[in-house]
Amino acid sequence: MISLWILLGLGLTDLAAFALCAVLPLAHIHGLYFGVPVPEEARREPDVLAVRRRYLLQAALVAGAGVAAGLGLGAATGWAAEAIVLPPIVLHSVGILLAIAAAHRAALRLQAKRGWTLPDSAKRVANLRFRQKQRMIGIGWYGIHLAVIALGVLAAIAGWDRIPDLIATHYGINGEPDHYSAKTIGSVFQLNLIQLGMLAVFLIVHGTMRQAGARLDPQHPESSMQQEIRQRRVMSIFIYGLSLLTIAFMGYIQVSLLFGWSMNLLLIGSVLLPLALIGATAGLALYLIRRGLYRNAVPQMQEERHWKGGGFFYYNPDDPALLVPKRYGIGMTFNFARPLSWVILAAVVLLPIAVIVAAEMAYRP
């Protein structure tokens, strides 16, 4: 029953993430259509709509192929959970990228045929007081995260005698504990170390965002600055909430494991949490689009050559900014010409993977 619930949760998470990735390129953000400038009045023309239709068809095929592969491999392996879950995740993430890339190429061909261009202005503006005007959430609020972590540590110390000699330290995909560890300082407090590592990553993200380049619209400097300030505030609060939720959830995992609390709530939580995160991301995107807070950076012809891979990747060695507003979608993206970008990206992506791999290695039966 529990493992069915987990399978369902993983499947829904995969589909929700897929849907979010599939829908965002359709949002015409920054006046771009699959990363290509398409004028407002051309959006309803048949050849433009055809690109969209073919993309939606491909996305639907990818979605179906992923589910079919999961079910097929699941049936072939006697319904092994990994065989059901992994193929859709891989197929969906690779497939949607290929579909977006194909739509981007089709849009580029249209652009070449019809001669659409971006505004060509070499103007740049900056406000000398932008950093003082920024209203991102204060770094002090992250003290609450530290307090949550400390609470878990104190609970473990205070209840040391009640912690059983064997602690379940690893759960299989079916929701059953498949490895136990002896009660040591390492096994009791390991989750606190992971929490601290995650807190460090969130703080780095916060700091990097504060330093990100504000690319304001030379045509409307004042209003685009107000938008940038509000967008940064909303995003800093979002990341704050996300990090607090994640770290508090890990604290709950810790005390549940140590004191043998019911695992049901935890399992439900571990299924709902990723869904909630995807839902929150979609909500944030919708909020920013509705408020018009995404359109502060107007793409310019001058910038075009710095955006590689269909507008996905920014690579400009002359630009000292680590983060710049995304060309494609909402939020910010790295300047990959700066080595520190790779380091931070590696920290954000690799830390959770390293934790999982380390856990797998350490507790291999």
Binding site: R124, V125, N127, L128, R215
Partner: protein, 134 residues
């Protein structure tokens, strides 16, 4: 205060930047002791090379208009601005000479030339109350 650059202009970018900061000081929008953004954050906001911003700051610092501290960062000179030195007068004359020559060739008389100079000077001093106020 805003700075606006034109990357396609014939005037080098660092000169545009230094010139606008100088105008800010002339008009009073930048007061002694006002902090300027760090080289990195201004370059990030403008999407231009660090060295370009650094060159503008260093040029103004060498002339004595800015102070660059390790802790407070870049600050508008608080110890009094460099006065009207002989070398500045020499530079001013050198730069005016070319402009005056063209004005003379084009047939502008002395009074008109002086009037134009006065207006530019007043505009620079007076933009405190108009235009690019933040």
């Amino acid at each position: 205060m805003w700075v606006e650059l034109d990357l396609q202009s014939d005037v080098p970018i660092y000169e545009q930047l230094a010139g606008q900061l100088m105008e800010g000081m002339a008009s009073g929008r930048l007061q002694p002791g006002d902090a300027l953004p760090s080289v990195r954050s201004l370059a990030s906001d403008l999407g231009i090379n660090l060295h370009t911003v650094n060159k503008a700051y260093q040029a103004l610092r060498q002339e004595g208009f800015l102070q660059i501290h390790r802790k407070q960062g870049v600050v508008v000179q608080t110890q009094g601005m460099p006065g009207v030195t002989d070398s500045f007068v020499a530079k001013l004359r050198r730069q005016l000479r070319a402009v005056a020559a063209e004005a003379a060739v084009r047939g502008m008389d002395e009074r008109r030339f002086a009037e134009e100079c006065r207006e530019v000077f007043r505009a620079v001093r007076g933009s405190e109350r108009s235009g690019m106020e933040e």
